[in-house]
C-alpha cells in the first residue's frame, strides 16, 4: 500500500488518498476511499453526512483516520500535518467569526497565525478582502454582517496566507441566488486566475456542474464516482423528442417510431429514443426517421435534442449498483 501512495505522490497530485477509512464506533463516516485530486477546482458532492467534512478534517490533520493513508501537496497527513497546514487554507461550513472584531483586524490576525510578518499580513489582508468583495464594511464588527458578508470574510481568512490549496466547505450555504452566483464565480476564479487548487464541497450538484473541472461523488462514506465534469455531462447517444399534444400524441409517436425500428420509451411529456442501431448511425439518419414519422402522423414536432447525462444520474446509477 505504501508503494501505491508513493506512486500517486510521484504524479504530483494535490491530494491523494489510499483506502482512507474513518469509523466513529458503529458510524462509518468514510469507507475505503481512494481518490486523487489535481489542480483547478474539484467538487466534492454528497448528501449531508456523506463524509465530505470528515474527509477535509482528516486531510487537515484535525482528525485521525481509522486506517488508510493520504497525502496533501506531497506531505503525508500523519507525519507532516503541520507542513500541510502551512500550505492550505480552510473555510469551514459553520459560523466561525468572532462578532466583536472587524473583518480587517481578524484577517490580519489570521495571516499572522499562518506565519506572515506584521506588514505583509496587513497588505495581504487588504488585498484579499478586496478580491472577495468586502469594501468599507471590512472595518465594522463582523457580528453585524449579513450571511453573504460573513461567507466572504471566511473565504478571505482562508486565502490570506496565499495557500496552494483551499478547502471550501459548503461556501454557498445560506446565500440567496445572486450571492450564490457571486460566490461560485469567485470559487472559479480562485482555481483559474489565482492559480490555487480548490476542493469545494456542496450537496447541490447543479452548483458544482458550473464551476468544477473534476467532480468526486461520495455517498454514505463510499466513493461513488470520480471523474472530469465533462464526462458526467457527456452525451448518452439517446435523443429526446417532444410533440405538440398530450400523452395520447406522445404514445402514437412512440409506437410509430418503434415500428420504424427505433427503440424508445416515454419520459415525462417526451419520448426518449435509445441510441439508434448500427445501420442507422449516420449522423442524421435517426433525425430523418423521426421527422418523417412525425410528418406522416401529422404531429407537430416541438423538440428534438440529444440527451445529456446529469450529475444526478450518478446517484441513480450508484443506487442501482448497490
Amino acid at each position: 500500500m505504501a508503494d501505491v501512495t508513493g506512486e500517486i505522490i510521484g504524479q504530483a497530485s494535490v491530494i491523494a488518498t489510499v483506502g482512507l477509512t474513518k469509523h466513529y464506533g458503529t458510524v462509518h463516516a468514510l469507507t475505503d476511499l481512494t481518490v486523487t485530486v489535481g489542480d483547478g477546482v474539484t467538487g466534492l458532492v454528497g448528501a449531508n453526512g456523506a463524509g465530505k467534512s470528515t474527509l477535509i478534517k482528516i486531510l487537515l490533520g484535525l482528525l485521525e483516520p481509522t486506517s488508510g493513508q493520504a497525502s496533501v501537496l506531497g506531505h503525508d497527513i500523519e507525519q507532516a500535518s503541520q507542513d500541510i497546514r502551512r500550505l492550505v487554507g480552510y473555510m469551514p461550513e459553520h459560523d466561525c467569526l468572532p462578532p466583536d472584531v472587524s473583518a480587517s483586524d481578524f484577517v490580519v490576525h489570521m495571516a499572522r497565525m499562518s506565519g506572515l510578518g506584521a506588514s505583509p499580513a496587513r497588505e495581504r489582508a487588504a488585498d484579499v478582502l478586496r478580491h472577495v468583495g468586502l469594501e468599507e464594511e471590512r472595518y465594522r464588527p463582523m457580528g453585524g454582517y449579513s450571511t453573504g458578508m460573513k461567507q466572504r470574510a471566511k473565504l478571505a481568512q482562508a486565502l490570506v496566507h496565499d495557500p496552494r490549496l483551499v478547502f471550501l466547505d459548503e461556501p454557498t450555504n445560506g446565500l440567496d441566488p445572486a450571492a450564490r452566483n457571486d460566490m461560485l464565480r469567485l470559487v472559479q476564479r480562485i482555481g483559474s486566475e489565482f492559480g490555487i487548487a480548490v476542493l469545494v464541497t456542496s450537496h447541490l450538484l447543479g452548483e458544482l456542474e458550473q464551476v468544477s473541472d473534476h467532480v468526486i461523488v461520495l455517498d454514505g462514506g463510499h466513493l461513488l464516482r470520480s471523474s472530469a465534469t465533462g464526462e458526467f455531462l457527456e452525451r448518452t447517444g439517446s435523443l429526446l423528442v417532444e410533440v405538440i399534444g398530450t400523452a395520447t400524441e406522445r404514445d402514437r409517436l412512440g409506437e410509430a417510431l418503434a415500428l420504424a425500428g427505433l427503440a424508445c420509451r416515454p419520459r415525462g411529456t417526451m419520448v426518449a429514443v435509445d441510441p439508434p442501431p448500427p445501420e442507422l448511425t449516420g449522423e442524421t439518419a435517426a433525425y430523418d426517421i423521426i421527422r418523417d414519422v412525425a410528418a406522416d402522423l401529422g404531429l407537430g414536432l416541438m423538440r428534438l435534442q440529444p440527451d445529456r447525462r446529469h450529475l444526478e444520474d450518478v446517484f441513480l446509477d450508484g443506487a442501482a449498483h448497490v
Binding site: V88, C96, H109, S114
Partner: protein
C-alpha cells in the same frame, strides 16, 4: 497643445494588478506561538479590543495597586523602620481582587474561540491544539503574574526609597515572587479550564469564583476550627484543597510574612509544593485535552 492636455489630464490611473502571490518570508512555529502569546496577553488587559473591555481589568488593577501606593507614601513620609505589610502578605490581602481578575479575564482567552468556533480557524493553521492551549495558558499565567507583581515591585521601590535594608527586602521580594509564579500557574489553570468548559462567560466567572473565593473561604474556616480544636493535622490537609491556602501555607512555612492557622511543617511543605505543581500541570493537561477534542469536532 492637445498632447500636453492629455498628459496632464490623466495622471492618476488605477491599475488592477489581479491576484498577487506571496513569496516572502514565513515565520516558524515559535514565532507564531510568540505572536499568539503577546496578543493573548494584550487581550486579557483589553488592549487591542473595545474600550469597554479595558474597564474591568484596569479597574481591578488600580484597586490592587492603590493600597501599595498609600503604603509607599506613608513609608517615605513618616520614615517607618519596616514595611507595614510583607510582599506575600500583600498578595494574600488582595486575594479577592486577584481571584476576580483571573475569573473575569480567563474567558477572554478560553471561551471566546470555542464559543464562536473560531478555534477551527486556528487549528487549521500551523499551531497544533496542544501548543495553542499551552500558549493561551502562558498568556493568562503572565497576565496574572503581572497583576500580582506590580504592587510588590511598587512596595519594593518604596522600601528602597525609605532606605530599608536592601538585602532583606530583596530576599523577601524574591520569595514572594516565587510564590506568585506558583500561584499564577494554578489560578490560570483552574480558571482557564473552567472557562474552556462553560462557554457562557457568566457561568465561567461564577464557576471560577466558586472554585477560588468560596473554596478558599471554606478551607480557611476549616483551618480555623481545626486550630481551635487542637487538631492541626486536619487543618494542614485541608490546606491542600485551595490554591490560596497552598500559597499562604507555603508563605508561612517559608517565613515570607504570612500567618495561617495551621502552617505546614516538615514533609508537608514539600507536599504543598507538589500539590501546587500537580494542580497547575493537571489543569494544563486538561486544557490540552479539551482543545484537542474541540479541534476534532
Amino acid at each position: 497643445m492637445s498632447e500636453s492636455a492629455q498628459g496632464t489630464g490623466r495622471t492618476g490611473v488605477i491599475h488592477d494588478l489581479g491576484y498577487r502571490h506571496y513569496d516572502g518570508r514565513r515565520e516558524g512555529t515559535g514565532a507564531i506561538a510568540l505572536n499568539l502569546f503577546t496578543t493573548g496577553l494584550r487581550h486579557v488587559y483589553g488592549l487591542g479590543r473595545s474600550g469597554r473591555s479595558k474597564i474591568l481589568p484596569f479597574l481591578l488593577l488600580g484597586m490592587s495597586v492603590l493600597p501599595a501606593l498609600i503604603v509607599v507614601g506613608v513609608l517615605v513620609l513618616t520614615g517607618l523602620s519596616d514595611l507595614p505589610i510583607t510582599y506575600a502578605g500583600y498578595v494574600n490581602q488582595t486575594q479577592l481582587l486577584i481571584s476576580l481578575f483571573a475569573a473575569a479575564q480567563a474567558p477572554v482567552l478560553f471561551s471566546r474561540d470555542l464559543r464562536h468556533r473560531s478555534i477551527v480557524l486556528y487549528l487549521a493553521r500551523p499551531l497544533s491544539a496542544p501548543i495553542f492551549a499551552i500558549t493561551r495558558w502562558l498568556s493568562l499565567v503572565v497576565s496574572i503574574l503581572l497583576f500580582t507583581a506590580i504592587p510588590s515591585v511598587l512596595l519594593f521601590v518604596g522600601a528602597l526609597l525609605a532606605g530599608l535594608d536592601v538585602s532583606d527586602q530583596t530576599s523577601s521580594l524574591l520569595k514572594a515572587l516565587c510564590l506568585q509564579v506558583l500561584l499564577a500557574t494554578m489560578l490560570a489553570g483552574i480558571t482557564g479550564l473552567i472557562s474552556s468548559v462553560s462557554l457562557r462567560r457568566g457561568f465561567a466567572v461564577v464557576g471560577s469564583v466558586m472554585a477560588l473565593i468560596v473554596l478558599s473561604g471554606v478551607v480557611t474556616a476549616v483551618q480555623g476550627i481545626a486550630d481551635a480544636q487542637d487538631s492541626e493535622g486536619v487543618g494542614i490537609v485541608a490546606g491542600l484543597f485551595s490554591p490560596w491556602s497552598l500559597h499562604s501555607g507555603l508563605a508561612d512555612a517559608w517565613g515570607a510574612g504570612v500567618n495561617v492557622f495551621t502552617p505546614p511543617d516538615g514533609a508537608w511543605v514539600l507536599a504543598y509544593v507538589l500539590v501546587g505543581l500537580l494542580i497547575a500541570a493537571a489543569c494544563g493537561l486538561g486544557l490540552v485535552a479539551r482543545f484537542r477534542k474541540v479541534g476534532a469536532r
